[in-house]
């Protein structure tokens, strides 16, 4: 099949490592984590960044795991700056002191996105699985201010912290963030294992939506708040990654190029590796990026739907996690024959406990 060349990608997510001192039960890394020995070196990342920029990528997200678990992070940031990419460091903040942060700023870092697990210390440390973590994050945010770097606060929200959303908004203001990302947990991988402990109730969700609406109005010009209604209470799915292979490339610590950072857990794929092929070749020609690109792969009810070029069928990982087939319509869509599965999950979670299965590295070393 000869498709026209796809429009160039806008964003690159570089997952520099899966190592992380935190153990969040909703971590977006795959359940099979990569070891340090499998990670791409800084030189290879530099080549990938140059290829990305030449291809049309503008924004680079340096993520993990905890990207600062890599000692060569300043070198990697310098490669990004030289390639002309806008670099955003997505960090837990617990491994970076003022000196290391200054080195990153000097290397050309454009922006810092700091995650917090809650506004309340005890709960934040319990959710992140790291005692003392929250206090270190607050100190890190001060260092970001001192380094004169722009800051986004990222709060992943769920049943066990959503009631403190007003306090999270206050925290963002207090820490000098220009932007707050209120991100509902996406339920695949680790988060799917913990869904019963994390899914919010409809009442919580409605209160949160009201809080955000009021805060946006009151804080206009001071704090930008990004907030999206979670899938489990939506009627239409989200255009996951802006559509498969349409605007975004993720590269895993071991070099696998993915249309979405969670796609590695989908079976039946041979994801191309940046060690073996250029990003341009991967983007235009790899089977993995073409499989769910556009609309020709779509089943009913997507195939004939007016929304098919708006939501692109939703999330492939969620379709696989809930229906066992990644090529199904995302069950978040009310038109999906599997939509009732979301209601059942909400009902189960309403009577479930609060214990987590924390993210852990494998005890037996794996190949990648």
């Amino acid at each position: 099949m000869n498709l026209p060349p796809p429009p160039p990608p806008l964003g690159l997510l570089a997952e520099l490592t899966h190592r992380c001192p935190l153990r969040c039960p909703y971590c977006s890394n795959p359940v099979e984590l990569s070891r340090a020995s499998a990670e791409l070196d800084a030189e290879t990342w530099g080549r990938v960044f140059r290829e990305a920029a030449a291809l049309g990528v503008l924004q680079l997200h340096l993520s993990g795991g905890e990207p600062a678990a890599r000692r060569d992070l300043p070198e990697i940031v310098a490669h990004a700056a030289r390639a002309g990419l806008y670099s955003n460091l997505i960090t837990s903040g617990v491994l970076l002191d003022t000196a290391r942060l200054k080195a990153l700023a000097a290397a050309g870092l454009d922006h810092v996105q700091l995650s917090v697990q809650d506004a309340e210390e005890g709960s934040a440390d319990r959710i992140g699985g790291l005692r003392g973590g929250h206090v270190r994050k607050l100190a890190f945010a001060e260092a970001v201010q001192a380094a004169d770097l722009p800051l986004t606060l990222n709060a992943v929200v769920h049943r066990q912290n959503l009631d403190r959303l007003p306090a999270l908004i206050d925290l963002a203001l207090h820490l000098g963030a220009g932007r707050l990302e209120v991100a509902h947990v996406q339920y695949y991988g680790w988060a799917l294992r913990n869904r019963d402990a994390l899914l919010p109730s409809r009442a919580q969700l409605e209160a949160a939506t009201e809080t955000v609406t009021a805060a946006r109005e009151a804080l206009r010009g001071r704090l930008v708040i990004d907030y999206v209604v979670p899938d489990y209470y939506a009627r239409r799915p989200k255009a996951c990654m802006g559509g498969w292979g349409r605007s975004f490339i993720a590269v895993s610590p071991a070099g696998r190029a993915l249309p979405c950072h969670a796609a590695e857990s989908l079976p039946g794929f041979d994801f191309p590796n940046v060690r073996d092929a250029s990003l341009a070749e991967i983007w235009a020609h790899s089977e993995a990026f073409q499989r769910y690109r556009g609309t020709s792969w779509m089943p009913e009810p997507c195939r004939a739907c007016d929304h098919r070029e708006r939501d692109w069928g939703g999330c492939r990982c969620q379709a696989f996690a809930l229906t066992g087939d990644a090529a199904n319509t995302d069950p978040a869509c009310a038109l999906s024959p599997h939509h009732h599965l979301l209601d059942l999950a909400v009902r189960d979670a309403a009577i479930a406990g609060a214990d987590f299965t924390y993210r852990e590295m494998p005890r037996i070393p794996s190949e990648a």
Binding site: G56, D110, H111, G178, R179, L223
Partner: protein
């Protein structure tokens, strides 16, 4: 509404840059991308941290054949919108 004497500048982390692959200029920021139209681009190019809104309007009025009031209205509307979105500060 932004005052005529205010000095608008890009907010921290926001940059106007060329997007060569798509033959256009864009404003990039964290998880954000704005594509200015021709008029907006002319205005954004004048945000240098020293020009006031008035000075920007004067500059554009001298270069383009349009009534000063019309240009002032365009500039104010654009900057107010970008202030609300956190792209610009003043």
């Amino acid at each position: 509404m932004i005052a005529p004497t205010a000095i608008p500048r890009f907010a921290r982390g926001m940059r106007l840059r060329e997007d060569a692959a798509r033959a256009r200029w864009v404003v990039v920021g964290p998880e954000r991308l704005f594509v200015p139209d021709e008029i907006a681009l002319e205005i954004l190019r004048l945000l240098d941290g020293s020009r006031s809104v008035d000075a920007i309007v004067d500059d554009l009025a001298a270069r383009f054949d349009a009534p000063r009031e019309a240009i002032a209205a365009d500039v104010t509307t654009l900057l107010d919108d970008l202030l609300a979105k956190g792209v610009v500060t003043a």
